[in-house]
Each structure stands twice: as C-alpha cells, then as structure tokens.
Symmetry: C2
Subunit: 236 residues, 2 copies
Amino acid sequence: MVTRTESVTRRLREAVLGGAYMPGGRLNEMALAEAMQVSRTPVRAALGALFAEGLLDYEPNCGYVVRRLSLDEAVHIYTVRATLEGLAARLAAETGLADAARARFRETLDEMERLVAGDNWGDAEQQRWGDLNIAFHGQIIAASGNGYLANSIQRTRTLPLLTESGVRTFLAERAVVWWDRAAYRRSQDDHLDLGEAILARQGGRAEALMREHVERAGRLIGRKLANRTEAALALS
Amino acid sequence: MVTRTESVTRRLREAVLGGAYMPGGRLNEMALAEAMQVSRTPVRAALGALFAEGLLDYEPNCGYVVRRLSLDEAVHIYTVRATLEGLAARLAAETGLADAARARFRETLDEMERLVAGDNWGDAEQQRWGDLNIAFHGQIIAASGNGYLANSIQRTRTLPLLTESGVRTFLAERAVVWWDRAAYRRSQDDHLDLGEAILARQGGRAEALMREHVERAGRLIGRKLANRTEAALALS
DNA sequence: TTTGCATAAATTGTGTACAAAGAGCGGCGA
DNA sequence: TCGCCGCTCTTTGTACACAATTTATGCAAA
C-alpha cells in the first residue's frame, strides 16, 4: 500500500516539473487538497518534501510558491552539475565498466549516432535521442559506483525550468525544446569522445570532457534563457 | 514569531548531530512530542525535513530512524565534498577576493598558524582552531559566489557521524576528536598553500590543492572509522 | 522447542476543528 | 487626495481524534 502523502508528492512534483504552475505562483493547500481529493495533511507533507528538493520556495505563514530560478542561479547549478558529472566520468573511467555495462554503453552510443547521422530527424527521433542521452549519462553515473554522487547530480537535474534534455518553459503551454540540429551533432561528438575516454580508462580526460560537455549545454541554455527573459520582459 | 515546526526541527537536528540518539535508533513521534511539549504535527514536519536533509532514514508506516552511514558511504560523501570544495577554491581564485575579504582571509590564516605553531595546544586551542578552520573554508566558499555550490557543500557536512572538525561517535558519550597534533600541522600546511594559490589567482592549483586537502581528511577519517568499526564489532 | 496463526497493542497515516498570523479593504482624519 | 488605522476574510499552523498498518504477544499444533 502506498500512502496518500507519497502519491500526492509524486503527482505534485510531476505537475510542477511539467509546468502546470507558473514560477512564483502560490500553491494553495486547500485548493490542492480538493484537486487531489485528500485532506490538507498529505498535501502539506508533499509541499514540505518538494520544498526540501528545491522545487518550491517557502515562507512561514505565507505558504509555498513555485521556485523561480534567476539566470544566475541556473548558471550556478550548471557549474556544479558539470563538476559533479565530471567526477562521475572520472570515477567511471578509473573503475572501469563491467562487460555487460560496457556492451550496453556501446549500444547506447551507437543508437544515438545512428539517429543523429540518419536522414530522418523529426520529433520522434529527437525524443528518442533525448531518452538515450539521459541513459548515457545515467550509465556513467551508475558506473561511478558512488550513490551519494548520483543523488547530488539528480538534485541538479530536477529543478523547474531546467530538465534533462533542453529547457521547459512555463510561459508556453507545452514543453519547448530549444536546440537546433547542429547542437545535437556537437553534443553527440562530445559523447563519442567521452565514451572513448571512459572505455580507455582515461580518467582525467573523461573528467575534463564531461565538464566541458555539461558546461557547454549550460552556456547554450543560459543564452537561450537570457533571450527568453528579454522576450518575456518585452511582453509584460 | 517562529513556528513550532521550525523550533522543533532545529532542536531535533542539533540532538541528532550531537549524538543524542544511536544511529539506527527509532524516533518515536509521540515520545518526541511529549519531550518537546508540542503535538505530533510539528514533530512529523520536523522529521520529514530532517529526512530530506539526509539525517534520517524513513520507511512508510514504520517511522524514522537515525541514518547509519556505512564506511563506503562516508568515503563517497568525502569524494563529492572534495570535488565541490575544489570547485569553490577554483572559483574563489578566479573571481578574486574583495579587499575586505582578503584581509579577513589573511587574518584567519595567520591566527591558525599562530595557534598551531604556538607552545600551548590544549582543548581551547583545538576548539579555536576548529572554528577558524570552518571559517577558512567558509570564506572560500563565500568567495566562490555560487550559492547553490555553498548549499551542496553544506549538505555534505551536516551528516551524523561526520562533522566539520573531526568525528563524533554515538558510541561514546561525548564528541571525540580523532586527530593528533601532527595532523593539524599537516592540515595547516595545506591551508597555507591554498591561501597562497587563491590570493595569487591560481585557479587550477587552488582546485587541486583543495581536493587533495579534503580527500586527505576523508582518508584519515576513513581509517579511524574502520578501526572504530573493528573495535565496535569486537565489543558486541 | 519451534512454527504458525490469531489477536492485541503500539505506532504511524489522515481527516478535521480550531488558533493564529497575514492580506486585503474600507472608513476616517489630515 | 493621500495615508493610516482597524476590521474582516483568507490562509496557514497546531492539536487532537480516529483509521490503517505494523509489530508484539500468546496460544495451539506439529
């Protein structure tokens, strides 16, 4: 049996990450309770959990609001994430992958390459590539063998506004993927170098490559976000 | 006005970090509520918050227990911490310290040096050096200008069993500082090199030094912890 | 003695009522 | 008209009662 608190926490997390509420928007306990068909108690527990995860801001006696990330904060988070994923890449390279993991790793890389290099590049291919991208990074993190590191990286990824592949915006109704195809190609080139370094047990090189890889993504998103902010300001 | 939840959270956190409960020990909601003279509601909120901070483990319908860190987990946490503090050192060096911060930084280093090099080395000096050590690291983290990084590092420091200066154990009644004087001298030498690198704006060198510095502390604690585990096993 | 089950006790999960703090609003005076 | 005060209303914080689940206990049978 799963408790209502767990269920509400999961649903609310998905709603916030999915952009159902505007950043800075208040989350009314009573309204959420009615919407979820539970009492305020599990809702309050869920809000507390999401606050601890960094998805919400909280002020005593004032309630919870969806956290609004400034451009600076987003850059800060990406800096930390780049360093942590760099560490994971180094540890993975130094430890080495087991045979099964090695095979899966190669398979993931190959499929991504086929997609990017292929003739078709529609929504389905982008979606698939995004999933494989997450899997690729996940395999490296798993191979690092450091659970605390894995959690720390996960924390940098589950934040409103910034998700695993690309940028979601709360201004639009549905997710907008910001990258053009050239960016995917560049990202894939990074992946190929990274895979080579890790499989060749080159820890230092893997770390440097991963750091640069994630920081590049951060810079890209930073630029897009800066433009978006200007656009949003122009609208308001 | 401060809410009861905040007050209970703070008190409970201090109790857990101070070693008032055995790792693995159950935290009974009713008992805590009576001890703190509040109802179960703020106690549950506090337990949830401390669980999110990583101080407690939780299983639905089974309650909260003080988190028990394995030796492996402690090493993993130190690895992450070393990398993050290394990043902070690099950012601090690259950004550079403002004049006031620069002066305070030098002052902190000088006082630590006077203590370690001085003739007296009692409990008071150790305590003072520990406080300055925290301040030294804190100044670097602040100078990095990355709030998310500061939070991430703080998370690696507030865990039961491992605190800022030395190791607390739940087996003994009061905190035990594990280091001998030679270790303090070695640590201080690291600090001198680090201060030099940061003030000279040598980012890469500062990062490498800080990483090694924190990892050395981690190895030291790891060894002590391993011995302690053997001792504890022998006793039981 | 041990194992299994049924029952009882203890503990956590949830709903709800009430207390308290904050936000919004209207009236009053300068 | 503007600013301030006090009120009301909304929203959050807390206590408590009850439901649901887990854990302990005791008894009977293998």
